[in-house]
């Protein structure tokens, strides 16, 4: 693999370390920040050679080939440069966060979140597979939710974070749908292949959905309102979300796909409109805002709007503007946000009127603010200037009228920049009241601004800086960025916009912007969410009224309706009542069963219940016997006995406060269900099908597994893995009873009763007779009805009898120990039986056999012993809990 992609893991490693060693982070917070900055920016510098290298680097590894999900990455000059920005600004933000939250006990989790977020963002930029990109995309949404909601004790913080999450996740779903449609129509899920093949026709749905996905992420109109609200997040988080990550993911995708998707008729009009409206709505809110962070958030909105316009135009010239505009914005927006935090700390407020005197009080930060704001305004030779010139140039080439409109709204954005500069540079005689800003924060603020200046130098040098990056995105080859284009329309518009914005700042205090408009979208969102919630509530209220009966009835109705459809009433040909065979058995049994079932269904008295249930179980055991299933009959008899034991013990402890009420509804549902099931079974019995698996088991039972009783052979040999799983479940259920009832036994004693000495002696005698019978049943299991399950249930029934008779030997400690050891030894023996074949070099669960003439001994027998002990231990656990008297 190309080792450059390992850089993706660097921020995550920092995050993991922060989670493993939170104490170290808290103690040495500043050092952590420094280390993070050095690590991340060093990683970033490894990427710089790629920026100058025209080659695309790929890494591919299959992940889920059936779904075309690949673990594939791609690096072009542009994504390398973007990756550098992410890592470098991530380092600055981490340093800032570690200084800003030095005393906060939750600093380690913030560091971890920022680290993972950086990795996720790198993943978005570098993924080549749609679905991998989507996964990273959703990861950024989720992590930004946690980051924005970092102050989770504040109601507003939680509300705004979940608003951002809802909007970006909805967009994520749209994006996924778009990717799937694009994948289906183009036959590839690789981003680079789509870009290379440059298909002529695209499905409209894919284009629309992908655009919506990217627009929600980048907070484009009409989804723009979440971004200013996300300002509730901590300052370093805002700085990072707004500069190089999160919102940039959306425009990144738009820019990357623009060369292909801009051929579709929907793309350019939709994106240029949405982008322009975003800029306008940012002006409505930002021009009058007093809060520095809000103003900055609105300039971010505007910048994203411009980037969307460029991606929407999608021409090579627009994409060249896109790269420099995105770079410039990342490099001036991060320091501005970080500086806002510094100013707040030093000046005690971040409202623009309160920032007077900042230049004297906090010179470095204020200088950074002024430089960055000048870049925002687009003053030569800062990167923002080049970005704006190229933007206007591309817009002019697209349509001169549109370019003039862009210049007009840009004037508004520039006015916001001027407002910041004027606010900071105004003199004040009142000394500042706040605290001193630590060095780490100042450094973190100044570094991106320094890189901004460095970019200017690099662009001025003849080294083709960013040319490859722009070209890899789709700009014309070998077009360098130039500062001077001559007296072009773009320059005039730019100068005009600056003049206009200066005028605007002058008259701004006198303009009244209706305040209600800025809240419209927020309010609409709230109404939408409240509406969804009330619909959900009413549906839930309709379906789930809190009564168990109606929940059950609803589920039954659904199952019943779907099985009624399966009846397929048209085909009833073969249905006939078959009176042949030995029906006389049933003529006696069926009425008995009906009576027993009705009593079981209606009875409220415990004794009647127990008797009727026992009767039902007994008749079913007879049916099993009749239908050639002797093993089942034995198991059923034993299990039924034990069920009654347990039920008797449990019902004796339960006070029946609630008496079930008879109702017509209940009756009708029950009758309908009975009739439906009867019809379904009659229908299913008319079918004949092959059973190759059963035939195989029957044929191979004797030669391969040396057992005549095929049912037992299936349980301990052919399908022993299932049985193994089953005894594990039983062991877990036994542990569950111990956990739930360990203490309850003392609180809810069984009612006292007289014990007959006859029963006590008799049950002891019974056990003596049972032991040989149990051994015999266990031993014959492989060749005749019997086996581990039945033997264990029989043994348990005998023990249950003795517990009922309250034999003195069966003390609670004895039973507890006995049941524990049975479970432990049983599971161990079964496990040993399954892994013994491994020692002999055979596959897991293969039977190993020793033959003495006609006697065959093998691991399935050992396994059956494990089953026996586990089932016995399980039964004893429950008997102990349900029947033991407290001591």
């Amino acid at each position: 693999m190309d080792s450059i992609f390992l850089l993706l893991g660097v921020p995550s490693t920092i995050a993991l370390l922060a989670l493993i060693l939170p104490g170290v982070i808290r103690k040495h917070s500043q050092t952590t920040g420094g280390v993070a900055l050095v690590t991340l920016s060093t990683s970033g510098f490894f990427l710089l050679p790629r920026v100058f290298d025209g080659h695309h680097v790929f890494f591919r590894k299959e992940w889920i080939p059936e779904l075309s999900v690949e673990f594939s990455f791609r690096m072009t000059a542009f994504t390398a440069w973007f990756g550098f920005l992410i890592l470098f600004l991530g380092g600055c933000v981490l340093l800032y966060a570690c200084t800003y939250f030095a005393k906060n006990p939750r600093l380690p989790s913030l560091v971890a979140l920022l680290g993972f977020f950086t990795s996720a963002m790198l993943g978005v930029v570098w993924s080549d597979n749609f679905y991998l990109l989507f996964l990273f995309w959703e990861a950024t949404s989720l992590l930004s939710f946690l980051l924005v909601g970092f102050h989770n004790d504040l109601e507003k913080s939680r509300k705004n974070a979940s608003q951002a999450l809802l909007i970006t996740m909805t967009g994520g779903a749209a994006l996924l749908a778009g990717f799937v449609i694009l994948h289906q129509s183009q036959g590839t899920s690789s981003l680079s292949q789509i870009l290379d093949s440059s298909p002529a026709s695209l499905p409209t749905a894919a284009v629309v959905l992908i655009a919506i996905g990217a627009m929600t992420k980048s907070a484009q109109w009409p989804f723009h309102f979440w971004l200013p609200n996300a300002m509730v997040g901590p300052t370093p988080v805002s700085a990072y979300l707004h500069s190089a990550t999160m919102v940039k993911a959306g425009v990144f995708l738009l820019g990357t796909l623009a060369p292909v998707l801009s051929k579709h008729y929907f793309w350019t009009p939709a994106l240029t409109t949405a982008g322009s409206l975003t800029v306008v709505s940012s002006l409505v809110r930002g021009l009058k805002a007093d809060d520095l962070k809000t103003v900055l958030a609105c300039t971010t909105l505007a910048a994203l709007g411009f980037l969307t316009i460029l991606a929407g135009i999608g021409t090579p010239a627009a994409l060249q503007a896109f790269v420099i505009f995105l770079t410039a914005h990342a490099l001036y927006k991060a320091p501005l946000f970080l500086a806002a935090g510094n100013l707040e700390k030093q000046m005690g407020s971040r409202r623009l009127p309160k920032l007077a005197g900042a230049l004297q009080a906090i010179p470095v930060t204020s200088f950074v603010v002024i430089i960055s704001s000048l870049s925002l305004i687009g003053v030569a030779p800062l990167p923002g200037f080049i970005g704006k010139e190229y933007l206007l140039k591309a817009a002019w080439a697209h349509s001169p009228v549109f370019a003039i409109l862009v210049a007009l709204v840009a004037a508004g954005v520039l006015a916001m920049g001027f407002r910041i500069i004027f606010a900071v540079s105004r003199k004040s005689n009142v000394p500042s009241t706040g605290n001193r800003v630590p060095l780490g924060m100042t450094l973190a603020t100044a570094l991106p601004a320094a890189l901004s200046l460095f970019t200017v130098v690099a662009l001025a040098l003849p080294i083709d800086f960013l040319t490859d990056a722009a070209q890899s995105l789709g700009a014309k080859p070998n077009t360098e960025y130039e500062f001077w284009h001559g007296w072009t329309p773009a320059l005039f518009m730019s100068l005009g916009a600056i003049a206009l914005s200066l005028g605007l700042v002058r008259v701004l205090p006198r303009i009244v912007i209706p305040t209600s408009t800025k809240l419209t979208f927020d309010a609409a969102f709230d109404v939408l969410i409240a509406g969804l919630r009330s619909v959900a509530d009413s549906v839930a209220g309709l379906l789930q009224n809190g009564k168990l009966v109606s929940h059950l009835a609803l589920m039954l109705a659904f199952v019943g309706a779907s099985s009624f459809l399966a009846l397929d009433v048209q085909y009833w040909d073969h249905l006939e009542v078959n009176w042949s065979g030995d029906s006389f058995v049933f003529i006696g049994l069926t009425p008995l069963l009906i009576i027993a079932a009705i009593i079981a269904a209606r009875s409220e008295s415990t004794v009647a219940l127990l008797v009727s249930l026992g009767f039902v179980g007994f008749i079913i055991a007879l049916l099993f016997l009749w239908f050639s299933a002797p093993d089942l009959a034995l198991t059923q008899l034993m299990a039924e006995t034990l069920i009654l034991f347990l039920l008797a013990g449990a019902l004796a402890k339960v006070k029946r406060a609630e008496v079930s009420e008879p109702g017509l509804f209940r009756f009708v549902v029950a009758i309908l269900a009975g009739v439906l099931v009867t019809a379904l079974i009659l229908k299913s019995m008319t079918l004949e099908w092959d059973h190759p698996v059963s035939d195989f088991h029957l044929r191979q039972s004797k030669p391969a597994a040396f057992g005549a009783n095929v049912v037992n052979v299936i349980l301990v040999d052919f399908r022993a893995l299932d049985t193994f799983g089953e005894i594990i479940v039983l062991a877990i259920a036994a542990m569950g009873a111990n956990a739930a009832l360990g203490a309850a036994r003392k609180r809810a004693p069984l009612p006292d009763a007289e014990y007959s000495s006859l029963l006590t002696t008799g049950s002891q005698l019974l056990l003596y007779f049972l032991v040989p019978a149990i051994l015999w049943i266990f031993w014959r299991g492989h060749n005749a009805p019997g086996g581990g399950f039945i033997a264990a249930l029989l043994a348990a029934a005998g023990i249950g009898m003795n517990i009922l008779a309250s034999r003195p030997k069966y003390t609670p400690p004895f039973l507890r120990k006995a049941s524990h050891w049975c479970l432990i030894i049983g599971i161990s023996i079964a496990t040993i039986a399954t892994i013994l074949p491994l020692a002999a070099g055979r596959p897991f669960f293969t039977g190993l056999w020793v033959h003495f003439d006609s006697l065959h001994l093998g691991t399935p027998l050992i396994f059956d012993l494990g089953v026996f002990l586990t089932v016995l231990g399980f039964c004893m656990t429950y008997l102990r809990h349900f029947h033991q008297r407290s001591i």
Binding site: V549, L556, A601, L613, I620, A673, G736, L741
Partner: protein
């Protein structure tokens, strides 16, 4: 005789569902017992019902004449697991709700 088995199962289902809709906890447990008895019979019936044809193989038995052993193995497991589930449900029933 298939008809009688089908009716038997139908009755068990009806009784089980009637009990299940009773509304108290004991009702649910008893309803589930009845329903699981019905389910076991359904599985057995799905393999075809044969009288006097236990799945015990000799050297010279024709497999086609024997009852299907696979549903029997499944039901055997189902009975024991059903017993386990019931035992655990009873645990929850008598557990003091504190």
């Amino acid at each position: 005789m298939e008809f009688f088995v089908a009716v038997t199962i139908g009755i068990l289902v009806a009784a089980g569902i009637y009990r299940l809709l009773g509304g108290c906890k004991v009702d649910i447990i008893i309803g589930l017992i009845l329903l699981s008895q019905a389910a076991n019979l359904i599985i057995l019936a799905s393999g075809g019902l044969k009288h006097n044809a236990s799945a015990l193989m000799d050297e010279n038995t024709d497999p086609a004449t024997l009852a299907d052993p696979l549903p029997q193995a499944l039901v055997l497991t189902a009975i024991v697991i059903g017993f386990g589930i019931l035992a655990f449900l009873l645990t929850l029933l008598i557990r003091p709700s504190k």
